[in-house]
Symmetry: C2
Amino acid sequence: MGSQRRRVHLAYDGAAYSGWQVQPDVVTVQGTLEAALERACGVPVRVTASGRTDAGVHALCQVAHFDDPTGGDPERLRRRLLALLPPDVRVTGLCATSEGFHARHDAVEKTYFYQLHLVAEAGGARAIQAALTPHRVRTFHAVPGNLDVSAMRRAARVLEGRHDFAALSKVMDPARGTVRTLRRVRVLRIPGGLRIFATGDGFLYGMVRLLAGLLVEVGRGRRTPEQVGPWLARAERVQCPPSLPARALFLWRVRYARHAEAPPRLLS
Amino acid sequence: MGSQRRRVHLAYDGAAYSGWQVQPDVVTVQGTLEAALERACGVPVRVTASGRTDAGVHALCQVAHFDDPTGGDPERLRRRLLALLPPDVRVTGLCATSEGFHARHDAVEKTYFYQLHLVAEAGGARAIQAALTPHRVRTFHAVPGNLDVSAMRRAARVLEGRHDFAALSKVMDPARGTVRTLRRVRVLRIPGGLRIFATGDGFLYGMVRLLAGLLVEVGRGRRTPEQVGPWLARAERVQCPPSLPARALFLWRVRYARHAEAPPRLLS
């Protein structure tokens, strides 16, 4: 029995990792998963994800593919991986897939969310972060509570659509350009906070954290929703918003058009 | 200016604490708060909460009162406490209150919730816990995913009302009896899990974790909802359900009839 393509769904806490992608001398999620796969399969296995996540960013349902050289039972491999992986990287699903499935090329849409905790603090940045409640410390960013959510939502609508997002990118990659389509940007109220959802066909490096920073600036009245369109059109990183911390950012889900979503998808 | 009564709202992660109440030779939330207050006020300050929480149990809005011997500005004291307390104990509100306010005697209703993560695992208890996703490890208990939620809800309704809950108590306290009123028991679906809410005028020691264990047994078909009433009526801890782990239990809120809820209440 030869090598067989597998699709794997992963949830991870990004705090201890230098992002997804394998790099020299640092611990990454991809490197951790490949080490576990090598132990399980006996030979090196290369994994390809839907895309990279940056250092500290979490995932609830990252999708990846690899070729299992043993061609063994996916369910047995899933259990073996759960035992081999550290508690902050979990396999939430693993299944056989068609040989043609490619986790990055076939991804048609990704959704991230960014979590804001609203505090009544009038003090400085340090006092604001000190008000974060214990169960939100690792996964929320604290902001002053008097945000104008209605203005944030108007600005979110301006960002939707096909635009050059160079102004919301940390690093340019000329080969891939800076034009992307944001299908939906939503600002949802949750108890004591906000969750900003961004769905698109692709994201530039650091884009969601800059987008969240932009919306918080609008919420605080430092920009108007009407200024966002012209500013974005200039496609320059001038008067750029602050990039918010990675710990409050989650890759939530990845959508594929041609392949059934067999493994369970979990929101945690 | 003499001593003045203060009302304080607290959120804490119970993992590192041997519960709320001060005991010799262990770290407790009350002890931690009193140590911070002593540093802030210069003299020992005794704090009284709405009730104890057990070792490992979390709180989103525990309410307590104390007398500030300095009679100083509550807002200033709140900030000072935030700086003095460890990150896993946060003051979410602190305000002046009437001298007659008593956090325990005046509490008319408390709500706890217990968090279950549903997994597709067919394996044993260890395999089931291994499937917990990283952001739920510290605050959820994993159970097999094929629970009969409708049966759990029927059993929850049986528990509502005024009953002798001796069968759902770990330790008897003859002085306080075992009759309590559960106003609402609700089983809510959340993404990939369930949250069991229990609201009552008081709870016996370990009661919510036994109640959650009972509902899980019903969900797994090991008891029927119809058996719950007669079993409870026998008021004996025979055929008792398993007590589920403390880490998934939260004291959510405490309601007072006579005193305005001035400090913010946060769900996090």
